[in-house]
């Protein structure tokens, strides 16, 4: 069943159980994909998705369609959770914010049907999936967020601006720098050894 955002919100506010299924159908994979590309960790991505949906249900009564597009609102919640999550990790200093542990690999231990639905030519071109994730992980957080939302999730510029609560000009600038830095990172990776990807990040900011 497909519903537009206004209908979906209205049905959630009427406590229609079927609306939960529609919400999951429309946003579960997108949120998971966003969280996974952002964190590089399936478990963290699942936690982010679960918490995002929980907050959506909690706050659905206060959501007003005309204030901010629903999609932007959903991704704003997810983004805030990711930021909080990364801040927590930074404080604990257990895992680097910007670097995924590619030695073990984020998909090294999938427990179920995790994984890519459609591996593309680009992934093959860069030898393996980890290389792509590593390149994305080199991006600063705001650039990475904009890149994933814009070019993985297809979120419009205005909605990305709403999600991140930034100006349209700021999002355009972040979009440009994200693509530029990612292109450079991928080129460098293809040309040299990827022994120390953390060091290359400082050159890209």
């Amino acid at each position: 069943m497909q519903l537009n955002d206004a209908e979906l919100v209205a049905r959630l506010q009427r406590r229609d159980p079927e609306a939960v299924g529609v919400l999951m159908e429309q946003y579960a994979d997108r949120l998971y994909n966003y969280a996974y590309y952002h964190s590089g960790d399936h478990f963290q991505a699942e936690d982010i998705v679960s918490e995002t949906f929980t907050r959506i249900i909690e706050k659905i009564d206060g959501y007003v369609v005309r204030d901010v597009p629903f999609k932007a609102w959903v991704f704003r919640i997810a983004h805030n959770l990711l930021v909080d999550h990364f801040r927590l990790i930074t404080k604990q200093k257990t895992v680097s914010l910007e670097v995924v542990d590619f030695d073990n690999g984020p998909i090294a231990t999938p427990s179920s049907d995790w994984g890519a639905a459609d591996g593309g030519a680009m992934a093959e071109q860069y030898a393996d999936r980890e290389e792509l994730h590593q390149a994305i992980a080199t991006l600063p957080e705001d650039q990475r967020t904009v890149f994933i939302l814009r070019f993985f999730e297809g979120v419009e510029l205005e909605q990305v601006a709403d999600s991140l609560e930034k100006s349209l000009a700021a999002i355009k600038s972040l979009q440009y720098r994200a693509v530029r830095n990612l292109r450079r990172a991928l080129d460098e990776m293809s040309d040299r050894d990827l022994a120390n990807p953390v060091n290359s990040q400082s050159d890209l900011v």
């Binding site: 994979d29 998971y32 998705v49 929980t54 994984g115 639905a117 993985f152």
Partner: protein, 399 residues
């Protein structure tokens, strides 16, 4: 070589073209821009084929169940009506001298004209609804006084809460003039019972003809008259009505009527008949409610009535109203023993009307208070002993 800012603008233009399904290289204006930005645009085109990840099926199912339970556990949304807009200040500019009237004047004048038209329409509707279109005057001998009717020279005339009894000592067999006022929709606006030959124009509702009484404390339930045998098998009892502390909504902020002494000194006949709406026993005093009026039945007569005294039976009361407003019931006859209890709250039309009229939302609340309690002191038996002082709050038409 273009500056970084220019490159950014051109790149964003090429992204916009790409999203519209057009060739992104159309945005490039020089080979240098194509060399610089081409690989970036190519990256975006390639990114469409990058892997997408799915939430695992087990996680999805568990999450869906959890969210459904969470949603159903939430309290339902109470949709609040939109708050009434704050009253806008009057357009001061309209009243300023030497104001330069511009387009704002046009807008204001148009608004004022619309308001005038609206007010005119409302006035016409109100006139059609409330201005009495007919007055029927009937003169004759008062033959019967019922709960919601009187009989004058054989003609039954319906009465209601707005009935005005100008006569202090309304007696059966007395010559009276009755003015029945209806609107164009034939809705009964008022019934005025007055002495024959009285100035009827002065008897319109809103011009109180009968002094109102304030609620009085309930008198002691003392049997005043020996039971009179009647044609029916039911025993006759004497009951003294008690002021009815009607549970009027607290929001009814109608001012209480001014207390005036009970004028009549001669007992006026009272006759009423109705279904027992409720039977309450309190401190060995049995109270029956008929036509929303409470009557105290002395214990002796309660015993005589026995189990037949219950909600739904029809009692016929006869008595005289005393100078203090109380009604001395000289005869209570069980007219119908077939108890047919009314649903809680009563299905009495008068009750419904009262609830509606006493509603806090009733725009007529507080209006027409001059009409309150009219006729209640004149022995129609409905509201003896000043009971109607609480019952009839705000029921006037406010004319």
């Amino acid at each position: 070589m273009s500056s970084e800012t220019q490159l950014e603008e051109i790149f964003n233009s090429s992204v916009a073209l790409l999203e519209r399904g057009q060739d992104p290289q159309m945005a490039f204006t020089s080979p240098a821009e194509a060399i610089e930005l081409g690989p970036m645009v190519g990256l975006l085109q390639e990114s469409k084929s990058w892997p997408r990840y799915h939430l695992s099926t087990a996680t999805r199912a568990a999450l869906s169940a959890s969210l459904t339970a969470q949603l159903l556990a939430m309290p339902p949304v109470v949709i609040q009506p939109p708050a009434a807009p704050a009253p806008q200040p009057s357009p001061v500019s309209l009243f300023r001298p030497r104001q330069r009237w511009g387009w704002s004047l046009f807008g204001s004048a148009k608004g004022m004209a619309a308001a005038l038209v609206l007010a005119l329409v409302v006035a016409v509707v109100l006139l059609a609804a409330f201005i009495p279109s007919s007055r029927i005057v009937k003169a004759g001998i008062l033959e019967q006084i019922g709960a919601d009717f009187i009989v004058v020279s054989g003609q039954r005339i319906q009465t209601d809460q707005n009935t005005v009894f100008q006569l202090n000592d309304l007696k059966l067999g007395q010559p009276v003039a009755v003015e029945v006022i209806r609107n164009k929709e034939d809705q009964l606006l008022a019934v005025v019972v007055l002495p024959p030959g009285a100035n009827q124009a002065a008897n319109l509702p809103g011009q109180s003809l009968t002094p109102n009484q304030s609620p009085q404390p309930p008198p002691a339930p003392v049997p005043t008259v020996t039971p009179v045998p009647t044609s029916t098998s039911a025993p006759a009892v004497t009951a003294t009505p008690v002021p009815t502390p009607t549970p009027a909504p607290a929001a009814t902020a109608a001012p209480q009527p001014t207390a005036t002494p009970a004028p009549p000194s001669t007992p006026a006949p009272v006759e009423t008949e109705g279904v027992v709406q409720n039977v309450v026993v309190n401190n060995n005093v049995t109270i029956v409610v008929i036509n929303n009026v409470q009557y105290v039945l002395p214990p002796d007569y309660v015993k005589q009535l026995g189990p037949s005294l219950k909600i739904g039976i029809v009692l016929k009361l006869k008595g005289n109203r005393r100078g203090d407003g109380s009604v001395i019931v000289v005869n209570v006859t069980v007219v119908n023993n077939n108890a047919n209890p009314a649903p809680p709250g009563g299905d009495n039309k008068d009750d419904k009307d009262k609830k509606q009229k006493d509603s806090p939302d009733d725009p007529n609340n507080g209006k027409g208070n001059d009409n309150k309690n009219k006729g209640n002191n004149n022995g129609n038996g409905n509201n003896g002993n000043g009971n109607g002082n609480n019952d009839n709050k705000g029921k006037g038409k406010g004319k």
